[in-house]
Amino acid sequence: MARAITPRKKIMWTALAWGIGLLIFFPIMWTFLTSFKSEATAISDPPVWFIFDWTTENYSAVLARSNYPLALTNSIVIAVGSTLLGILIAVPAAWAMAFVPGKRTKDVLLWMLSTKMLPAVGVLYPLVLIAKYFGVMDSRILLVVILMLINLPIIVWMLYTYFREIPGEILEAARMDGASLKNEIIYVLTPMAVPGIASTILLNIILAWNEAFWTILLTTVNAAPLTKFIASFSAPEGLFYAKLSAASIMAIAPILIMGWFSQKQLVRGLTFGAVK
């Protein structure tokens, strides 16, 4: 039954929610505005808001000094590649854990999560030495594999909690009809799990996109993604706020836009089993 909502109440909630939403979003907004200012305007006292000479000179300066297309390509390849590889390995595992749980299933799951506790810098030298041994330093494949390994526990966990919500009877029915295990996964489970898988993919693309330790230390040129691109523009000599802002916007815009367009899918599956 619908609760009586007075328009006044609705307007009040709207105002409050918009106020807080804008406040949370403000740093991004401010970076965006600053990226179109001249360096001097960027630090003017008092700060200027919308009325200033909008300029794109910072973007051209950033583009002239660095290989943005390459960094962008690398970011996309690494984020998407590591996520898809992770999904490929995680789907069967999560399926098995959800539908054929054994005594140890929970332990295995928790153990997987605990591998994420490994402090990256502690294993930096071993990893660099291994990568050098296989001759894969500064290669996309290395980062795809490493970021896949880092995020795999999260992927398995998300898929597991999502699969568990799928009623077992449906699978039983399919099995009665004589569907093979493979067909069961492909034709019955996957369509039902699409929202969960989509959400998992999105979340892990974001996590991989934003990873800023391995992507900086294991790359030089060929595989260097946007996280490293940003390091060229932090704290150089002289005024740099506007150029830093432009570089920042260039680094976050693709993922931000992807996030906005897919937020419904992202939100729908983002429960980690928190809702029963």
Binding site: K132, T220, A231, S234
Partner: protein, 438 residues
């Protein structure tokens, strides 16, 4: 034609082809450098070298801390990712002694002229007669001050001021209502940030890092005097966020007209006098770094330099690039494009004999004096077992000094007293030096 002749002909032909091929084959080299203004300029001029030689450069331009992360990991694991690395006077001798760098004694372009390098700078990059890095720009430190504010305060800056004068002048120039701080100096923690400033300052107060038996000296009265003086001066006349200010932050402040005086790298002189960036370009004067009358001035010596890691497989091309970037021709190229005042300073004697440069750069004379008066072999008033002015040329220094720098930065922020900071520094340094086997 007999077989021999045919063979000979073929050999010559092959030889010719190989020769031609190698001349025409474009090599790709990877260069890691800092995102400082002079290096960014080098990056923008480098296409000229690329066109002239047919080679291609992959640039890795990073902020200083991230650059250090990357190059140290690479060099100490023999990673071989870079063909040219930008390093400083601290790293060059240590890495050179480990045979991690390629000697630049030979193989450089003929007109490169190593003998033209300033002796102090060259000495800092040489180990046992082997030059391990070519200086791109060199610097000492000096006082940069606002002539208008000095006049307003009714004072006159001597060419060689004392710390006492600096402190008094700073107090007189400070005008908090108009956002003018008498003195700007490094406060941000780091061995290359506040510890560079404080170690050099400590030398002029008669303090030293270690005695002849490598015992830490932070419990000495000289260090206490240094730190107390620094904290008092900065609290009286320094900017509000001094504990977070490094070179870049102070540069911005000075360019905005918020500093009366700034004691820092001589290389900053061309930035603060550049009307394009600085609001106070025509009101800047220069003086030697201060002293306390003990015979040592608080000025350091540093050179951002280009070196080739031993793991590089393209040493010849790398040497060709370094010859170009640190040679006299590059200086002229910059002068042509950006004006003489913007050429990378502090590396070559010939630059300071060039009238065009001396006319364009009012800071040239003071820069040269500062560099020449820096003595890394005898940095302090007292005897020391190490070389280096604002650093101690041992591998453990960077780690220790960064932690000590954090303590002193904390003291500047008012989170602990000078005594507490010094005690903790003494304990920490002793601990680390013992662990290192001294």
């Amino acid at each position: 034609m007999n077989t021999k002749q045919i063979l000979r002909g073929t050999t010559v032909g092959l030889g010719l082809m190989v020769g031609l091929a190698s001349a025409a084959m474009a090599e790709e080299i990877t260069i890691a450098t800092v995102n400082n203004g002079d290096m960014v300029r080098m990056q923008s001029l480098a296409p000229q070298w690329e066109q002239a030689t047919g080679n291609k450069i992959n640039w890795v331009v990073l902020e200083e801390n991230v650059l250090r992360q990357n190059v140290t990991t690479d060099i100490s694991t023999g990673g071989g990712q870079y063909d040219v690395m930008t390093i400083g006077t601290y790293e060059a001798p240590i890495w050179g002694a480990n045979d991690w760098l390629v000697s630049l004694n030979d193989g450089m372009a003929e007109d490169w002229d190593a003998d033209d390098l300033l002796p102090a700078i060259r000495g800092g990059l040489t180990v046992d007669g082997t030059l391990y890095a070519a200086p791109f720009y060199g610097e000492s430190s000096m006082v940069m001050y606002r002539t208008d504010l000095m006049e307003k305060a009714g004072l006159e800056m001597p060419e060689a001021p004392t710390w006492q004068f600096i402190r008094e002048a700073a107090a007189a120039m400070t005008d908090r209502d108009n956002d003018i701080n008498g003195i700007c100096a490094r406060g941000k923690a780091g061995w290359g940030e506040n510890m560079a400033f404080l170690s050099a300052m400590a030398n002029s107060f008669g303090a030293r890092w270690f005695d002849m038996d490598w015992n830490a000296q932070f419990d000495s009265p000289e260090w206490k005097e240094t730190l107390t003086f620094y904290l008092d001066m900065m609290n009286e006349s320094g900017p509000a966020g001094a504990a977070n200010n490094g070179f870049n932050e102070n540069l911005t402040l000075f360019q905005q007209g918020k500093c009366g005086m700034w004691i820092d790298a001589t290389v900053a002189a061309s930035f603060v006098t550049n009307p394009a960036d600085s609001t106070v370009a025509d009101k800047v004067g220069f003086a030697l770094a201060p002293d306390t009358g003990l015979g040592k001035r608080g000025n350091w010596l540093w050179a951002w330099s280009l070196a080739i890691p031993a793991s590089s497989e393209k040493v010849d091309v790398a040497k060709d690039f370094i010859s170009w970037a640190t040679g006299k021709g590059y200086t002229e190229l910059v002068a042509e494009n950006e004006g003489w005042a913007n050429v990378p300073p502090g590396t070559r004697t010939s630059l300071y004999e060039n009238q065009a440069y001396l006319d364009a750069a009012p800071f040239a004379e003071m820069t040269l004096k500062s560099i020449n008066s820096a003595d890394p072999q005898n940095p302090s008033v007292q005897e020391v077992p190490y070389t280096g002015i604002q650093f101690v040329a041992i591998p453990e220094f960077a780690g220790i000094a960064t932690q000590v720098g954090q303590l002193f930065s904390d003291a500047l922020a008012g989170n602990r007293s000078a005594d507490e900071a010094l005690n903790a520094a003494q304990e920490l340094t002793t601990e680390e030096m013992e662990a290192a086997g001294y």
